[in-house]
């Protein structure tokens, strides 16, 4: 039987995977459009553009990781779903929020910085590395969100 607590835990997993995934999709989309523009005029820049476009994709992976740990902890993977109390469920729901919200926003903003890095690479190909570093700086906050979500999930005793 699925309790309210278990349902809330599912919600936490869904938030982590969905919001972070949307953030990554938007970020990669923004960078991809910028990249298409550059490549349509200069196809040789594909390699550099690809690296920059891929960077905002990590938030989706972080969200998936937290979602996976939540569903693993509540026994979805081995087919033995635990009956969680409401507070346990709420705790797991909140555990999904940091990476969900952090991933959503950092994904979008990282996509914008990646797009700017792509323009930088179009104007000064020799400075592409700096564009990558600037884009990676946004990643810090996605990693912090992942870290706190991870600690919270592991802190919930089932």
């Amino acid at each position: 039987m699925i309790t309210l607590g278990t349902a809330l835990a599912f919600g936490g997993a869904a938030i982590a995977a969905a919001l972070a995934g949307v953030g990554s999709a938007m970020g990669v989309g923004i960078a991809g459009q910028a990249g298409s523009g550059v490549i349509s005029e200069d196809p040789d820049k594909f390699g550099n553009v690809l690296v920059l476009q891929a960077l905002p994709g990590t938030q989706g992976i972080y969200g998936l990781l937290i979602a996976f740990i939540i569903v693993l902890n509540i026994g979805v993977i081995d087919g033995n779903i635990k009956e969680l109390s409401t507070f346990q469920g709420l705790a797991l729901l909140f555990s999904g929020l940091p990476i969900g919200i952090g991933g959503l926003l950092s994904g979008i903003y990282q996509g914008k910085v990646a797009a700017s890095g792509i323009y930088l690479c179009a104007k000064r190909p020799e400075e592409t590395g700096k564009g990558i570093i600037l884009t990676a700086m946004v990643e810090t906050y996605a990693v912090l969100s992942l870290l706190i979500s991870f600690i919270m999930v592991n802190g919930v005793k089932l």
Partner: protein, 330 residues
């Protein structure tokens, strides 16, 4: 079909702007000894594709510059996610074409060489409108003004007046589009600054030519921050005080200083040069707003400035005189 997004458009423009001539290259071109030396230097930069210098004569360089500019205008038109606002920056081409076609009709001649493609209206459309005197298909501001001009032409022909009225139509149309779109971006600032500057120049011109208030009124353009009354009231103000009277609105100080500089130096080109610099500064201020129309319009106007500089360089080279390069974007 290209995607109409700022990200895509700015991506393409980032690459294309690398192929533009910079100030140093233009300066070297202007220092070239002969026409063919300058032409060879220009073609070495990749300008105009893979044409050999020996295949281009004196007249064809103008054609080459015009073609290159038209390619850029078409490109921007294809890429822009805001065609309505972008079209405003092409209206100067249309204004030139309308004036030329109207003058050609009045003189009973054709003027195919002077017409410029790449405006907002197609050349065929404008030719048909002016030939048939039917302006119903044009935007309201143009339709009303062109019908008024046609009416006036039945009584008398004053090229200055109808030229000023066509400029008025352009600025009225720009104002209507900006109001309709509720735009408060750099586009409004650009045209508002241009209108104020042009109006200030018109007052100075009216003073020099001893025109009366009625003639000045025809020359004043809509869309600026400074009220027309300020310009009309100051037609008789002593030149030394004129600048101070224009110190109104967000760019009033600049306009005021420019007029004062003109009064001090007596150099009329100062007015135009300062206006061009101020307009370029508006575009430069949004150059790095990557997800906006700024870099797209910046590229268009940079190409226009590049073409203008090249025409001046080759014209000066033919005529054997010195020039000062116009304001460039980069």
């Amino acid at each position: 079909m290209p995607q109409a997004s700022y990200e895509y458009a700015v991506g393409r423009i980032s690459v294309l702007s690398n192929k533009m001539l910079d100030a140093a290259q233009l300066r070297r071109l202007s220092e070239a000894g002969t026409f063919h030396e300058a032409l060879a230097m220009l073609l070495e930069t990749g300008y105009g594709g893979n044409i050999a210098a020996e295949h281009i004569n004196n007249q064809e360089i103008d054609y080459l510059i015009r073609e290159q500019l038209q390619i850029s205008r078409r490109m921007v038109w294809e890429l822009t996610p805001e065609p309505e606002l972008t079209s405003l920056f092409l209206l100067e081409v249309d204004t030139h074409n309308i004036k030329t076609l109207l003058k050609a009709r009045l003189l009973g001649v054709d003027a195919p060489d002077v017409l410029i493609a790449g405006g907002y209206f197609s050349l065929e459309f404008l030719k048909e409108c002016i030939k048939t005197k039917n302006y119903d298909a044009m935007p309201d501001a143009y339709r009303i003004m062109m019908n008024k001009i046609e009416n006036e032409l039945t009584r008398s022909v004053d090229p200055l007046i109808f030229s000023a009225e066509i400029d008025q139509a352009m600025f009225k149309h720009i104002k209507r589009v900006l109001d309709k779109k509720n735009d408060h971006s750099f586009v409004r600032e650009y045209f508002s600054l241009m209108a104020d500057f042009q109006n200030a120049r018109s007052v100075v011109r009216a003073r020099l030519m001893h025109w009366d208030v009625d003639k000045l009124r025809v020359l004043l353009l809509d869309g600026g921050e400074i009220d027309h009354k300020v310009f009309l009231d100051n037609i008789d103000t002593p030149m030394e005080q004129l600048g101070a009277e224009f110190n109104r609105g967000s760019h009033g100080k600049l306009i005021s200083q420019t007029v004062e500089e003109y009064v001090t130096t007596g150099q009329t080109p100062v007015l135009k040069h300062k206006m061009e610099t101020a307009l370029m500064n508006v575009l430069r201020s949004v150059k790095w707003n990557m997800f906006s129309l700024g870099p797209i319009i910046g590229y268009l106007m940079a190409r226009e400035a590049e073409a203008k500089a090249l025409r001046m360089i080759f014209g000066a080279n033919r005529g054997g005189f010195e020039i000062e390069l116009p304001e460039l974007y980069a």
